[in-house]
């Protein structure tokens, strides 16, 4: 279970605490993940705290994104990352 990191629009509801998951009867080629767009002020530990309730789980996110994140301290607003479910 994971939560969404989206922020509410002007008069739109807040869906940032939405929890999600996925599974299949087929062999899973990779663990399911949620797509998240980095916002200003985000860090992997902050995202991990929000998603998993534990900032120390940042490495889990880092490892799922090693194709696009080379340095865990260098993420950028607008960058789309995978958050393992």
């Amino acid at each position: 279970m994971n939560t969404s990191g989206n922020t509410p629009g002007d008069d739109m509801p807040d869906f940032s605490n939405v929890e999600s998951g996925a599974s299949s009867t087929a062999k899973e080629a990779a663990p399911a993940y949620k797509l998240y767009t980095i916002k200003s002020g985000d860090s992997l530990s902050r995202i991990a705290k929000h998603e998993y309730g534990n900032a120390n789980d940042w490495r889990r996110i880092f490892e799922a994104n090693q194709d696009t994140i080379k340095d865990p301290d260098k993420i950028f607003p607008g960058q789309e990352i995978k958050i393992p479910l």
């Binding site: 629009g9 008069d11 605490n17 999600s20 996925a22 087929a26 949620k34 995978k82």
Partner: protein, 161 residues
């Protein structure tokens, strides 16, 4: 008398032979029912040796944990429901299935969730995506759009009341 006996036997025997012959002819003349026509062999659609494609998407608030099949198809949910989108596919191969959940109010749209499940399918499969909201879903109109390898293949609209 003794000369007549063999003749009588011969006549009776001849009559029997003729009678049996007639019976046989009668049997031969009975038209046998025509065999039921064998339906032309229609090959079953190949659901294995083809690329993965979506057969159907079903929404529900409950699924079978083993088969990942929707308990019942729904398009209206309660605020406290967990909402499942069950994506049934055919075909084989590594495939990324994505669900994009959105909320719609007038001409505005808010993203609710976007998740990807990568599968290595060998024939028909069922893949489920689910979302829940601890403080309850806002009432209104939603939709979930399903993508296969980045291409939109299905949209299901639903309402929370």
């Amino acid at each position: 008398m003794s000369a007549i006996k063999p003749l009588a036997v011969a006549v009776i025997a001849a009559a029997l032979v003729l009678s049996m012959s007639a019976c046989n002819k009668k049997e031969e003349s009975v038209a046998l029912p025509a065999p039921a026509p064998v339906p032309a062999a229609v090959p079953a659609p190949d659901v294995i040796n083809v690329p993965v494609s979506v057969k159907q998407v079903t929404l529900s608030n409950k699924i079978d944990e083993t088969t990942r099949q929707a308990a019942v198809a729904m398009n209206t949910f309660a605020s406290g429901d967990t909402i499942y989108a069950v994506v049934e596919t055919i075909g084989s191969g590594k495939t990324a299935i994505k669900s994009l959940w959105t909320y719609h109010k007038g001409d505005k749209t808010a993203q609710v969730n976007e998740a990807v499940q990568e599968i290595d399918a060998v024939g028909p499969a069922s893949t489920e995506f689910h979302i829940s909201k601890p403080d309850g879903w806002p009432t209104g109109d939603y939709q979930v759009e399903v993508f296969v390898n980045g291409t939109s293949v299905n949209v299901q609209k639903f309402t929370v009341k």
